[in-house]
Amino acid sequence: MIVRAFKISSLALFSVALAASASWAHEAWILTPREIEALAEAPIPALFLSQMWLLVAVALSAGVALAALSAEDRFGAEIDTRLRPLASSAVEIGPTILRISTGLMLGLAALGGLPRHGVEPWTTPTFLVPDMALNLVPGWDILAPVQFALALFLILGLAVRLCGAVLFALSVLGLAIFGAGFVAYAPHFAAPGIMLMLAGSGAAALDRLLGTDALFRPGPEVQQAAWRATQILVGAGFIYLAVAFKLFQPTLIIAILDHGNVPTLGLPLPVVALIMTSVEVTSGALLVMGRLVRPMAALLIGAMTFLAVVLGETPLFHANLYGVMVFYLMVGERFPRGVQITPRMREAM
């Protein structure tokens, strides 16, 4: 019954994400020139200027979040017990998915294969994300081969913990090179970096063949603290995106929704934009608190996928986050302690 309730609630959260047309887009560059022209003149919707309606949104969001937290308080322990096998196998599968998805993203970025809309593919190497073209920062071309080498190591599963440290360092370096504009991205690359440092290579990795995966493996307490740190980083990243790009720039997200002809179930676009913002702030806050981690991961995967389909974007734009969310979905709030590799798990490697 508990499992059934968990499945139903996960499905409901997933549906909320889809029905609310949630999109995590903030990229103005997908808009056409005419849409940009219209956006320049667009007035701020009254909904985003009214304390009353914003407080109504807060009350509704808080109500939903508190109900979900109460459900977790009541059923969480039993759900965790039942999902323990999934969490245990996650230490094998989770890192593999994370390093390959992030590696693909880094490799393509290094070769200019993930440019932003309007830029010819394979002409402009970017730093981690499409927005951060390396030609904007003279003297930093070296980052393209560094990213490519990192991608190669991650995909092969070689020196993965070290690669995690390098990825974390790159996310900090991005702030120094690109400035405030990189704040939107840094937490979502720092977190996978930490995850790889704490979890290692996972299955299907050269580290396993060479026996180097155990090198620099942190103790269980450090692993748990680092796992919580990733939740805080990822959650804070989503809150920042929601506030900076949606709450404080509502006409931008409305223009993007309009551009994508996002189905709104008859709701006006400003209402949809406010629902999206509320969902994103609430899910980010819950991740920061380390609560409802699995349902939030399912919701965010659904929303990112929906966005990619509606806007015709490649999911590789958010491959790092897909890797993180799949890992969260499998592991939940607490990183598994003292997992023994069973013969069956070893066979699967």
Partner: protein, 153 residues
């Protein structure tokens, strides 16, 4: 810090307080803001707004010789991650609503236009590719141009 706050007030209290603060603050931030900062670079009202005009000639070979005539704006080939709010940058050129080129110099030769009437639109951009806006809106110029049909052979 978030962990300490949670310990004192409880996680739910922190969540509720943060969301309440956002709801109270947002109307003031939005009322004072201009067009979205991610897409536009708002020039200060204290300075005269740049102006843009177009001088076009169709060459004998059917190309469009476009001169972007600006006042109070300087072209540069240098792009940066985050530009200052100054009238320096480049221009985006659209033909029939589709971006076809970035002009880092005032003169541009547009090739490959089919015979017929085309809508040319030029928008001045900052060094980080955001569209420049002044109190009067986008700094842009539209123009219709006819490319004559060329005799075969």
């Amino acid at each position: 810090m978030p962990i300490q706050l949670c310990a004192v007030f409880g996680a739910k209290g922190v969540l509720a307080s943060m969301m309440l603060a956002l709801a109270m603050l947002t109307p003031y931030v939005n009322a004072a803001s201009g067009p979205p900062r991610s897409a536009f670079l708002l020039l200060p009202e204290t300075e005269p707004a740049p102006q843009v005009d177009l001088d076009v000639h169709v060459t004998d070979t059917g190309e469009l010789d476009l001169m972007i005539v600006t006042t109070g704006f300087r072209f540069t080939t240098t792009c940066v991650p985050e530009a200052a709010a100054i009238p320096v940058g480049h221009a985006h050129i659209q033909v029939d609503g589709v971006k076809v080129a970035s002009a880092y110099h005032p003169r541009m030769l547009l090739t490959g236009l089919t015979p017929g009437v085309h809508q040319i639109n030029v928008v001045l951009r900052g060094q980080d590719h955001r569209a420049l806006v002044s109190a009067g809106g986008l700094i842009a110029k539209d123009m219709s141009v006819e490319i004559p049909a060329r005799p075969m052979g």
